[in-house]
């Protein structure tokens, strides 16, 4: 830290850097002039510009949480094979672009040799978008990187090949805020019990009115316990969402046993064909079982392969279910249908079947 007497340096508020100096020269020359693309093989995109220039892009998976040697290794490979440029996708895969077809194979070989899986293009399982978990978050009920590593080990071939009807986005989240995002298949923490309150700490650590305001079902109210101001929870109203925990850590929501994992399906951001859709809960109550969460992997694969074997080309998971119906989904996956699948939140009526359209 600077000495108190020293005048501190004022920051240069430069914001988002210009990407142009960091673009491969062929991308710079063809900016806004691309004509079409195809995929010569899994993991490789081939773009052709109006200018007649072409580029080949190799996509590889990473562990997202990277040490310096890993980042420098990627740089070494990009320097040796691709003129020293790369980009990252929103799902933490790396794209390295070359300007000649003959450079593709050596680049792929070098990446594979260094342990980076080539894939994630077209109708494949993409890298799982995820959160921080136990590694760095202050409110996680489970890990993120570990769940992803364990799942991607199981789904490795589905990343490196293009065997799905359409792309499959999987996401994971370690609390019910669900930072991982919408997914064709989403693995999210689902708390099942109200927070455990350390009443002697609430008064000092929490701004009580804002915690009361944070509760989506108005289940929290001010209280006095042992002569100290605190908060109490109406446990019959509480939906165990955990929204009170971040602003008030003494209201512990995470529980090694009772914070379980749930799997949701049919979320999609894209507007292609159908409008964007939220994922829907299909199974809950899976144990939070590090280091490899085998029950989660088993259920994800069950859903993934039912989709692979039954959906038509270009159908995303949600579109497949829209066509065959939820009854058939539960039949094909062997998952139980319970009262918890029926929405009872705002607007729930719009999610009920108000027709005589039925499937048997």
């Amino acid at each position: 830290m600077a000495e108190a007497t020293e005048k501190p340096r004022s920051p240069i508020e430069s914001g988002t850097p210009d990407p142009f100096p960091h673009l491969h020269p062929t991308l710079r020359r063809n900016f806004g002039l691309w004509r079409y693309h195809d995929r010569p093989q899994p993991g490789v995109l081939h773009h052709v510009g109006e200018t007649g220039e072409e580029v080949w892009t190799v996509r590889v998976g990473t562990q997202r949480q990277m040490d310096l040697a890993t980042v420098r290794k990627l740089c070494d490979i990009a320097d040796a094979h691709a003129d020293g440029y790369m980009r990252f996708t929103i799902r933490s895969t790396v794209e390295i672009t070359v300007d000649e077809e003959r450079k593709v194979q050596p680049l792929m070989d070098a990446l594979r040799e260094a342990g980076f899986p080539v894939g994630g293009t077209g109708p494949a399982v993409k890298m799982i978008s995820h959160t921080q978990g136990w590694l760095h978050c202050d409110i996680p009920a489970t890990d993120a990187s570990g769940v992803v590593k364990a799942l991607m080990d199981e789904l490795y071939d589905e990343f490196t090949q293009e065997n799905m009807p359409n792309k499959v986005h999987i996401t994971t989240s370690c609390c019910q805020i669900n930072c991982g995002g919408q997914g064709d298949i989403a693995v999210n923490i689902q708390h099942t019990k109200p927070p455990k309150i350390q009443h002697d700490l609430v008064g000092d650590q929490c701004e009580r009115p804002s915690v009361v305001a944070r509760c989506p079902v108005a289940a929290i109210r001010p209280a006095m316990v042992n002569g100290k101001p605190t908060l109490e929870v109406d446990e019959t109203k509480c939906i165990a969402c955990g929204a009170c925990y971040p602003p008030c850590p003494p209201m512990q929501i995470n529980d090694p046993e009772h914070s379980r994992l749930a799997i949701w399906v049919g979320g999609s951001h894209s507007n292609a064909r159908s409008m964007p859709s939220f994922h829907k809960m299909v199974v809950a109550g899976l144990p939070n079982n590090p280091p490899r969460w085998p029950e989660v992997a088993e259920h994800v694969k069950k859903i993934l392969y039912a989709y692979r074997d039954n959906a038509r080309d270009y159908e995303r998971v949600g579109e497949w279910i829209d066509r065959v119906g939820w009854r058939r989904f539960f039949e094909l996956t062997g998952l139980p249908f319970t009262k918890h699948h029926i929405e009872n939140w705002d607007g729930s009526r719009y999610k009920l079947n108000t027709s005589a359209h039925l499937r048997f």
Binding site: P140, K149, G181, R312
Partner: protein
């Protein structure tokens, strides 16, 4: 590796298997950096107890109100001594990457070098908001690390109730579907709100994301308060000989099943000579046919953007998609780009003045109703903003004639402008 201080039998199990292992990386880095040794110990502890052990606090740099995510260990003995003293502090620095996450290796190497001098060497590329996450620095080293990054040309990202780091897709740099200059819009928006990005003073977070087409690779509709999506309003460009070549190669059944009948608005028809007929007035610009027949079809020439407001994740009323507030904004020259910025300013100002504490833009709009929001930011209603008109009759319509007159007047102005 025997170099590490703490036994990590559970984490060790994540070193096997074909996918790159973050544990192997952590261990490698921990050999040079004691902080990560402690982090490995604490993470193993979490794996054993199935409990997280970090808590927040206050750490920052001079001049900014956010950008550092403080983490202190909660694992301490009765005397307050941490179980893993090396990881007593494990703060993250959010650093803004170039728009579109394009990097020269020089930039990445320089970031690595700076980070090696001041921090743990661990980094996430990237966090869900779109920041470079430099994970693992002590409060004492934060300022020096920031100074060096900042002198180099990098800046800290947003956190808390602030404008956040934005995101834009690969876009015009390497995608034929791009309908706008995504990076220009991204930088124009975020870099004009740096005061709100570095000094959290809004009711809650505010995110910008830019996707060049309706494939929305940046998840902007679901994940941003202000989603900008490239589109067009004239006709899809068709190269009929390429359509015929596609049908020749893939077959008629394939073309009908995978292109024609997958059109959500029933706007496509395959002619007897294997050319494609498109009803552009019904087309919703979903991108499917253009995605599938990348050589034959392209977005139209009259391009611009759609703006959707109010997307957000779960906390606290459940997820919300953004909804259309500007159906089409043409992007012909710089004054059009300035118009996006003016709108963003209106939105942020209205949000700052009218949202409740910890309320996102989408929640605020739901509370006050879309018409009130549109009035507040000076936008006119449009049928593209709704799926269908109201179906409940409980509404006061005593100013119907005035409202209808506004519509007619706008229609007339539009036709005068067009002629």
């Amino acid at each position: 590796m025997s170099d590490n201080t703490y036994d990590t039998p559970r984490l060790d199990e994540l070193e096997s298997g074909p996918w790159p292992s973050f544990v192997t990386g952590l261990k490698r880095q921990a050999a040079d950096n004691p902080m990560l040794d402690g982090v490995l110990g604490q993470l193993e502890h979490s794996y054993k107890d199935r409990t997280g052990y970090w808590k927040g606090g206050t750490v920052g740099v001079y001049g900014y109100g956010c950008g550092i995510i403080p983490r202190f260990t909660e694992l301490k003995d009765d005397d307050g001594n941490p179980f893993y003293p090396e990881a007593h502090e494990f703060h993250t620095m959010r650093v803004v990457p170039p728009a579109g996450m394009h990097y020269s290796t020089q930039l990445l190497r320089d970031i690595c070098d700076i980070w090696e001098r001041h921090g743990s060497g661990l980094m996430a590329l990237h966090g869900q908001t779109g920041d470079i996450m430099l994970q693992g620095v002590t409060a004492d080293n934060v300022q020096a690390c920031f100074d060096e990054l900042n002198e180099y040309g990098l800046d800290l990202g947003g956190a808390g109730p602030a404008v956040r780091t934005g995101m834009s897709c690969v876009g015009a740099a390497r995608c034929e579907q791009s309908c706008c200059n995504e990076q220009k819009i991204h930088r124009l928006l975020v870099n004009n709100f740096l005061d709100d990005l570095h000094r959290p003073s809004l009711p809650y977070k505010f995110k910008f994301k830019v996707s060049g087409c309706a494939n929305d690779c940046m998840n902007s509709i679901e994940r941003s308060d202000f989603a900008v999506i490239g589109t067009w309003r004239d006709e899809i460009q068709v190269d009929q000989s390429e359509v015929q070549a596609y049908v020749q190669e893939k077959g008629r059944k394939h073309t009908i099943d995978n292109v024609v009948s997958r059109c959500p608005s029933g706007s496509l028809s395959l002619n007897d000579d294997d050319t494609l007929e498109i009803d552009n007035s019904s087309c919703v610009r979903c991108m499917h046919c253009i995605n599938v027949m990348s050589k034959a079809l392209s977005p139209g020439k009259d391009r611009g953007v759609t703006i959707l407001a109010g997307g957000k994740r779960t906390l606290r009323v459940g997820d919300m998609f953004g909804t259309v507030v500007v159906p089409f904004l043409p992007l012909r020259d710089d004054s059009d780009y300035q118009r996006i910025l003016e709108l963003a300013q209106e939105f942020v100002d209205f949000f700052a003045e009218n949202a409740l504490e910890h309320e996102r833009l989408g929640e605020m709009i739901e509370r006050i109703g879309l018409p009130s929001f549109l009035e507040g930011v000076g936008l006119e209603v449009d049928p593209n903003m709704i799926r269908e008109p109201r179906s409940i009759s409980y509404v006061r319509t005593d100013d119907w004639d005035e409202e209808a007159e506004k519509w007619y007047r706008r229609q007339q102005m539009a036709s005068e402008q067009a002629s």
